[in-house]
Symmetry: D2
């Protein structure tokens, strides 16, 4: 019986900090303001709601604060300057988030200025010499039709003191940081430095991850688009596999520690026979190993499609020992290993398998957001502006149980989300692929 | 102050009926079975969870039963015959649902036969002479790459006695009905007739609506795809509007009683200036009316894009008095009225406006499902099979608060979902379009 | 035996005028210049090449001048100002042509200024008050990713004197006119006025038509893209037709006098059963008429897809008597007539046909150009600049027999291209649809 | 001054062989038959048509025979059996060609049987055990919606005696061979073997090459589709390049000996800065080398997009010495070399360039054909049937100067088509990229 991955850890506190009391009437013209006692239950299954029936202890209910406009805001819009920065790798929807922030700040709150910090946190460092961009509604008007980020991005942290110096120098009141868990951790240090200096600067995070592996962010923006694009590559692999005798199509997709793209695109295509993810270790050789299962499939059906997440099977490879500027360990190439092993396996039997390998790589993250992600990103950006204007800080905007919520940065940076290999979700993948429940020799 | 639409009515009972006790061990090989006391809270805001703090009454919690496989099932798979029928208008994803049902029944439960009833409920009527199709895994293998339904569809009810006669004659144990609220009401009468006859036949519904207007189905399958397609038409309207002096692009989209497609595609495009929906009545003339607002926009910016749901502004038109076979009243043509009024309005001022009208009509519902809908439909189909095999009946499969659930048919057919015009969602549309909060003269 | 449409009329003269002798060395750095005696044979079939074997007369060979850079140019690039105008209805690729002209003029010839005239010929008229746009390489850099024209367009002629006044006032040396046959006729009057005044201004035309009906332009730019988009609508009609009992899908596409879009998209889809075009008159009633053929198809196969060009069957309708600003007679609605007749025809037999009508209208002309058209438009724009810089005037750029050529404006405006209904091309359409060779009762 | 590549060699003979005299009246119902003396001039420039004006020698005109139906055919349709085989690597449009052959044979000529040979020439070899497929109109009806080939394919030659044995055994009258130049050479040996045995079997070739490098095939089917798909990958590279400081996007595309995909997709994207092809050798180092040019671009604009054909710069690499089953030499990896050199070049200057490498590989050849290729493939298939039925053999179907023609196999297999680096076409690429005319030192 294999071990399951645990779910996201229950947050201890979901309270959101503020830079000060909100006293100014919100100028936005219409709609309902979020009511003070409104809150979104985090865990909605009956057991958590009702608590242990045998215990006398009242069940403890944990809530997230709903996102949305408040009737009182902290910052005086006419004197507020905002700044936006995009960090880490590209992801579909970055321009949509930027656009939504600018539109909401300028049109709803009439904020006079939104600055764009170029090339990630490096853009705060004077020595780098990157200009700051004035993000006007007209400038951002059509950027959502392009992939990538109009601001540029870069990896790696920067000194929080340098960042806060820059914020002070530029008179920024609200900083919107779009980035991965590394960026959210950097954001927390910026918040601490701001607090230390006693400044009234809000920092609002917008969690970004092509791997969909951030806790309580479900799914992350751009994920749907990247799955759609990965599915196209898989479709190609299927065509190649069925177009040759002993045809095998193999596709490597992103997914360092979590196999969401691999699993979701396998579900979407319905033509995948093996989905290999980091959360589900496997053996290559042995009676129950991957090659045995592939051998069985090939002899039964004559072709196979394999989708492998880049982080799958890393235990089978020598560690590369290298890391990128964000501190991500450079992965060893599981696809190369599998390719070699597969061809050898069939070669020994005198069978010349035709293996076609496709690595869509950056194609899946550089496309513009699809309609679904476009709308999602708009809401994230709008809600980030509402949160910032209300004086909230140290939080991220997310969607949970179908509602937009505020989550403390500390909650989303504690660990990473994984596919639970005991879940119905993973079972659906196994059903769809028809691969063995485990390819581990006990 | 305009009236808001109320939210979906709170269900009175969420209990699911069964045709008998489930006593057979579930043969599916892996994954966790749904535990008996698991349940999904329907309303997850703090007030409902905690109840009125001033009252001593314990808050009442309403749950939906989670979808998924049970450890015991009712039907003996080796003796089970399933049937699938698709009813009403087309919708992206129908073939995906059919495929998922067949794959889950045949591969997971080893059910020997799944029948396809052709052309909707008419397919049950011997006089119509439609053959029944044997839906094998090989037959359905690639149907998800095509739009529409491989079974064909038709509108209108049929005598439940005739339907149950046919089910008896064909020895069907589980009937999967894919259709709109009319179909779900028909399903309820079939359930009643089955019960009256004391038969062991389960009926599982899969709610379908291009308009996304079914209660507790959020969103309905295919909606995402249709929005994506509608967005393409709107993009064309934007190009036309900006390509001519005094250019106006107008797009009519589906949405009889609810403007979800109009609103969602407006959000997705970010280039719409007026979004007209059934839920938000407007005047054409008068100081605050639509023409005044359009006039202001045109004189300020020189062009405008209008998206109008087919059901918008019906109070401005003489009722057509006709209805289709499903009982849907035939709508009067709001787009034709608007076109006439707009050209007259500017004509009187000596301005020759260039109005380009686009009606994507059936294009948006006949496309194949996108990746997102494809996955959604797969899960709906799989869960329908789990529900049916467990002996449940009279229910529909839906997703609520991010989880797949069982909902009694009576709950989803009570009224229709509407856009709440006081919600943050509608406010986001208004922000995105920049149209007045109301275009009603008091 | 029905009459065939004749081919494009043989041009009398293919000589291109110039504003003066080209004496300046061409500054472009690389590539081969077009040699003086190079020429492209217009009619390449053996009979034309060899002439009548029985006659002693030497065969007369007609050539088009090849497009491309000349070693000598007329205009001194450093003192040259260009202008671009887009006229008439939208068409995929307009922005690509504009971009290519600007890039070639600015980068290859180092022309200091390219002006954009807004909203068609109206942009030359001072009373209209449209600003002139400075088209820099940076401004046009990404416009090809959008449909439509960044300059705007309008219909209708303007006084050539007013246009030449404006060209003189702005010091324009080369005017690039992108438009249909009406625009090319207007261009000819501008050329005449320039000549009358003895000015050194070149006018180069780029023929545009969504209907692909200009002589010696084969195909026109954007045609491929519009066919691709029309095909999508037809695919939808096919899905609808096969998704209902007695299902009929009908799509109306552009094509006022020529059915190229209808025919080409029918060939592309391979799922069309009737393709109705202006060149092939048909009867609705009678033994051989359309309804009889449709009746036969429906009873044999149960569904049908009809593609009808907007200009088809106009003889069956009362003339509308109206015309648009370009002088195009407003067509009567053949689709509405067909719909009515079809439903009546089957209704009389007690059959309730399900007819789904799709009019993609402006969607097919407002999309961005596909890869193929993008390249085509680039070459058209580049060659237009080469032609203009060499001092040529009164010509259009086209592709003939696979090569880019110069054609006198008079040649392309003489009559319109039609589908030859005796050609192998039309036969391929008939084969693909399976419709009768004629639906005319003798 | 660098050397140009020569154009395709002038064919010595363009006469098409037949298996015997065509005496049977063609049964197809409509359209014009090709007239006996019709012919398409091969070289249409004035000099070839007129001949040397100084010489008294009459110019020699070379013609291709036009494709199309003849009034007399050789095979009696009711007794004719056809066979289709697809060989070599996949290419968009294979299924469209198969479909068109089946439809034309069965519907136009009422041929009773079209056989599908599976997995290329290997399918003729009894030892391989591949079943022959009966290709009915119903079987092929929707195959054009899928990429790849429904018949499967394989590489490598087979003994022509074995192939002809199989044709005799199966009573095949006409064999349609779809494949690259290797396949066309194999076809020629099959034709020779048939002739040697005195059999009445026609062999008609349909030239296929993803690289577009077959003489007198312009362009090859599927090329347009693959360019469209490659353009998508390049767009991603552009997004990545502009999204990072010192960003470089590099895309490798197919093109073993000819850089058509690289050049065409660079033209299509307009965002490529370096296009490296086999026909244009370059140095990496040195004053005029690639790195110097890249360095200049990077310092001027901050980013660059590079498209490299897989066969470019092979002289810079050690030969791999390996070959695949078709005899294609395995190329060394130019992209890996460039990546290493680029990072080192900037690394030495203390600049950390961000190089994102994308290899779309098989994605670009496994997609379904676009509308344009779909129509092209239909005509190729139809004309192949006309040619075969008329008793012609040893020919291929192609399009030349805009007309469909018959070309002897020997003409298309003599050498391969290359990009002429002195042509206006290549100059347009250089203009579009802005790269130096040559990156060769001296």
């Amino acid at each position: 019986m294999k071990a399951c991955n645990s779910e996201s850890p229950t947050p201890k506190s979901t309270e959101i900090s503020t830079v000060g009391p909100a006293k100014i009437a919100n100028p936005i013209a219409f709609g309902r303001f979020v009511e003070e006692d409104d809150a979104v239950l985090v865990n909605i299954s009956r057991r958590t709601v009702e608590g242990n029936p045998k215990s006398r202890k009242k069940p403890e209910h944990i809530y997230f604060e709903p996102a949305g406009p408040r009737d009182k805001i902290y910052y005086d819009p006419s004197k507020t300057k905002c700044a936006v920065v995009t960090c880490g790798g590209l992801c579909p929807g970055l321009n949509d988030v930027i656009r939504a922030i600018v539109m909401a700040a300028c049109h709803e709150y009439k904020v006079p200025s939104v600055l764009g910090i170029q090339y990630g946190l490096a853009g705060f460092v004077p020595e780098q010499g990157y200009d700051v961009v004035e993000l006007t509604p007209s400038f951002v008007s059509r950027i959502h039709e392009f992939g990538g980020t109009v601001l540029g991005s870069s990896r790696g942290p920067q000194d929080p003191e340098v960042i806060v110096d820059a914020l002070e120098r530029m008179n920024v009141s609200i900083l919107f940081m779009i980035g991965g868990d590394g960026t959210m951790r950097a954001a927390a240090t910026v918040v601490a430095e701001i607090e230390k200096r006693g400044l009234s600067i809000s920092v609002v995070g917008l969690p970004k991850t092509i791997d969909n592996d951030i806790n309580y962010v479900s799914p992350s923006f751009g994920f749907d688009t990247s799955v759609e694009t990965a599915a196209m590559a898989i479709k190609g692999a299927h065509v190649e596999a069925t177009g040759a005798p002993w045809g095998i199509g193999m596709v490597k997709v992103m997914g360092r520690d979590a196999g969401f793209i691999a699993a979701q695109s396998a579900l979407s295509c319905q033509e995948v026979n093996f989905c290999l993810i980091p959360e589900d270790p496997f053996d290559i050789h042995g009676e129950k190993g991957f090659l045995a299962a592939l051998d069985e499939r090939m002899k039964r059906r004559g072709n196979a499609v394999i989708v492998v997440a880049e982080g799958a099977g890393q235990d089978l490879l020598a560690a590369s020992g290298k890391a990128d500027a964000s501190g991500n360990v450079q992965l060893s190439d599981i696809a190369a290993l599998l390719k070699k092993e597969i061809l050898e396996h069939f070669g020994k039997q005198g069978i010349e398998a035709t293996l076609k390998y496709i690595d869509p790589s950056y194609i899946i993250r550089s496309v513009p957001a699809n309609a679904n992600d476009r709308i999602y990103c708009s809401f994230l950006g709008i809600h980030a502006v509402h949160a910032g204007m209300s004086g909230r800080t140290g939080l991220v905007i997310s969607r949970w149980n179908g509602r937009y919520v505020h989550i403390p940065m500390a909650v989303v940076t504690r660990g990473k989300k994984r596919i639970n290999t005991c879940s119905n979700y993973w079972r659906a993948v196994l059903e769809s692929t028809g691969q063995p429940v485990t390819m581990k020799n006990d």
